[in-house]
Amino acid sequence: MTFHSILYKSEDVIIKEKTSVAPDFFVDLNLDQILNAITSGKEEYNLKLFYYSSLKDFDSIMYRHEIFQDLENPILFEYLKSFAAGMRAMRDDLVQKEKLYYKYQYKQLFLDSVKIYCEAVKTLGEDLSEVNLKSQGLLAFREYLKDYIQSLRFTELCAETNKILNELSTIRYCLIIDGLQVEVHKYKSETDFSTEIEEAFAKFKQGAVSDYMVKYAHQLKMNHVEAKILDRVVLLYPDIFLNLDTFYEENKNYQDNKITTFDREIQFYIAYLEYLAIFKQEGLKFCYPGFSNPGKRVYDYEVFDLALTYKLINEKSSVVLNDFYLENKERILVVSGPNQGGKTTFARTFGQLFYLASLGLPVPGQKAQLFLFDKLFTHFEKEENIQNLHSKLEDELVRIHNIFEQATPDSIIIMNEILTSTTLQDAVFLCKKIMEKIIRLDLLCIWVTFIDELASFSEKTVSVVSSVIPDNTASRTYKIVRGPANGLAYTLSLVEKYQLTYELLKHRIKS
């Protein structure tokens, strides 16, 4: 297999998948937060784009799954990270180089960057030959790298770099500064004055003393005096610098395109795995989801919202895990229950799972079967938009209508507390209408609502509720379980907590 890209199996996929704008649902599902956390500290790679386009075929997904599985080997993972560090150091040198004005300054930096590049590439080659790889992607890359390292182009590049670096390191020159005069000549093994001083007073040595070395904040950029000195050093060693000139001209484009692309693209995996490590440390589980297509029997156990959990871990709070499954004719999860009971979080989690799975990523959960959708829609309540001439209700209906314009049986819709700005009667009516449309499309849907009637709408709907621990009624668990919708359960529990129920008030209020 020819190596094209570590992200995509074939070139046609590469072209098809490119987009630079985040999908509409990103903010609703808090995927923007998740992505920020994943890519934080890796801005230079511009990784976000890779997370913007879901894959549409199972081959492409498997291609990534395999690579992820290879990367679970911590040794390989470290190898790739140190390669990345090398490439980053190389780029730093090149960035610095651009800021320099004196030619033997920037040329040295250029040389330095080539050196780092050669080392990083060679090391990666050796490292990869040591690990056991199974994924098509990494296997193909390893072959490519092997050939590249053995190529004449690369071996000569390395040899020449080392030669010139060695020559430069042999240079040592002397300065005599006398008033305004500066004389530059080759170093002739003059003795170190400080050693003589140390020797003269060695007999007094008593133990640790302070360090009186002044720390100079060195700027890489030379000033005019340093440049004049360097000019004269060049005169003292003309051959060495001539070699540097030639090298610089001949190797301007020394980086191999596929290798630099790999360096960037492999970060898609590294970044995600480093992000997952935060959760794994807390004992949370991830799995490679299977796909039900064309069927719609989906499930995942022990799932959690990545964005929220990330915050909870930072605050050292505990995390609640949820399960869900849809089988037979079930298509729609209707979530009801008390406010702040974790309903919206559950809906987001649901959306995150399907989306992340479509990117070929491992997803939260202990065991999952998901569905590869063609389109994913979210409808979350929006702040009123004054610019817009529509009323809020109208605005919402327009948006919902747009969804149904595009939705197919293979789409997924996530509805969160819709139509709250109208009367209950209206809402019930409209929701039922919308529900009919969804049922007719037979698509997968999760719907958070305060309308109990929706829960038992048809055999395709499943009622789940956010639960309250019975013996400590005031504490909400954020656990979402199957059960009949009962809007009062939680409110009653709060009343009990504050001892305001009828029975309790009878005893508390003295007659």
Partner: protein
């Protein structure tokens, strides 16, 4: 270079762990009076005296004898010791004045100048030390001083001084500087080193012969301020290492003077104390130290040096022989000198163990590995526990730290309760200590306790009593006698009312 006046082979550490019961010892034996008497207002002497006296229990016989001999030399050559001590003080002071405060500057050339200045001064003081060694070493006989003077003569020889002089002259860098560097990142100069540069001698030579070994010269325009600053920075880089080396060397010499001052401070303290005691007509003597196989402890004319320093007059001395005695019971009249006696026992042991003379006409004793006091405290400072509780808690601490070769001084311990209970507690504790061969001096009013021990007529127990003349005046002298039931509190009462 080391002074080695406190230990034959190591420095005297000012940062050292003192015995766990240091605070109690200072309080119970009124050691601050001793330290002040030794220091005569000199803070260094005071600190050294305290550390030396309290760490005495860690010394072996050889160290004690080593110091005794040095102290004898010091007593014979007091003026020279004072002179050397003053030299070390002046050296340290001169350093403080000239540069220490400015050393954190950010120019190596300034560091170099300052260090050079300090060095010039130090060299002067070193020369003074050398002169003393040349002129007076014959008057010293102790191993410590013989070694010190020999070392000064050897290390501070003429060659040393001339070499240093040359270096310091060259480091003024009056003829320009010779630096070398390699190429670092971006071909910037790196690893700067300063070399000796003898420009005047070399310049004509170079002009004539070294044309072949090429060199290139350029000048900075005299109005190029930035260029001039850069040149001086370059010089700084080159001078950095040398400046550091010189400054650190200055620090080392500073440390040498500090060490010399510290170790001489101990003997200065001894001289000061000796002078005062002699003026009062109090005797002092060097104790005989006995090996641990025999259990000896005897003295003539032992007095409490702190009491003498406080009263500024000669005090009553005691003569006792407690050879082979494990328990010394001390009873008798109030204000009869019991506490003073107990303190003089403790103080003399501490002084002996740190190598000092002792406040007695004669003195011989074994070394102990810790001296522990359990004195009745006037009040409970912490207020959190009752008096007896506090005493027992202290006793608990003591038992945690007790070593077989400890000496314990009890002063009216466990009297915070009634006599029967107190006696019972004391009896139980003391019997245990007796059995474990811990040497105990116990001053007590607990007749029940004292008598019950006394009547057993144990060979290793001796009972001393504050003497009382019939006319009710006291001699402050202790005699060997059985415990008396009355403690003469009545006398005191009558005297006062």
């Amino acid at each position: 270079m080391k002074a080695f006046l406190m230990f034959k082979k190591s420095d005297f550490p000012l940062q050292q762990k003192l015995p766990w019961n240091t605070k109690a010892l200072i309080q119970d034996l009124e050691l601050n009076t001793l330290f002040n008497g030794m220091a005569q207002g000199d803070a260094i002497i005071s600190e050294v005296a305290m550390k030396a006296v309290l760490s005495g229990a860690y010394n072996d016989v050889n160290t004690i004898l080593y110091r005794q001999n040095i102290l004898r030399d010091s007593l014979d050559n007091a003026s020279i010791i004072k002179k050397m001590y003053n030299i070390s003080i002046e050296a340290i002071e001169s350093n403080k004045k000239s540069y220490l405060s400015e050393f954190s500057l950010c120019y190596p050339t300034t560091t170099l100048q300052n260090a050079d200045g300090v060095m010039q001064l130090f060299v002067g003081f070193l020369q003074q030390l050398r002169t003393i060694a040349d002129n007076h070493s014959d008057n010293f006989h102790s191993e410590g001083f013989t070694m010190l003077f020999a070392m000064l003569k050897k290390e501070l020889d003429d060659e040393f001084f001339s070499r240093v002089k040359t270096h310091l002259q060259e480091l003024k860098l009056e003829n320009g500087v010779l630096l070398s560097a390699g190429l670092g990142k971006g071909n910037k100069g790196t690893n700067w080193i300063l070399h000796r540069y003898l420009a005047k001698r070399e310049s004509w030579f170079r002009r004539l012969f070294s044309k072949k070994s090429s060199s290139y010269t350029f000048s900075i325009y005299h109005k190029d301020d930035r260029g001039l600053r850069i040149l001086s920075d370059l010089k700084g880089e080159g001078v950095n290492l040398v400046a550091n080396a010189l400054a650190q060397s200055a620090d080392h010499i500073h440390s040498f003077f500090t060490m010399l001052q510290t170790e001489l401070a101990f003997y200065m303290g001894c001289l000061n104390l000796h002078e005062q005691l002699t003026q009062m007509g109090e005797p002092t003597s060097f104790p005989s130290i006995l090996t641990n196989e025999q259990h000896k402890h005897s003295f003539e004319g032992l007095y409490d040096a702190c009491l003498a320093l406080t009263l500024k007059q000669k005090t009553v001395g005691n003569t006792t022989n407690v050879d082979d005695k494990t328990l010394v019971l001390i009873t008798g009249a109030n204000k009869g000198g019991k506490s003073t006696y107990l303190r003089s026992i403790g103080l003399s042991l501490l002084m002996m163990q740190c190598g000092m003379f002792v406040p007695a006409e004669t003195f011989e004793a074994n070394l102990c590995d810790s001296l522990i006091t359990h004195f009745k405290r006037e009040e409970d400072i912490t207020m959190k526990s009752g008096k007896l509780d506090e005493e027992l808690s202290r006793m608990n601490d003591i038992v945690n730290h007790l070593t077989p070769n400890s000496i314990m001084l009890f002063n009216e311990s466990f009297a915070a309760t009634n006599e029967r209970e107190g006696s019972e507690i004391a009896r139980q504790i003391v019997n245990a200590l007796l059995e474990k061969q811990i040497q105990v001096f116990f001053v007590t009013h607990l007749y029940d306790f004292a008598n019950s021990i006394y009547v057993r007529k144990l060979p290793n127990v001796i009972s001393l009593r504050a003497e009382r003349q019939n006319d009710t005046s006291r001699t402050f002298r202790l005699i060997e006698a059985e415990p008396l039931k009355t403690s003469y509190g009545e006398d005191l009462y009558n005297k006062i009312f």
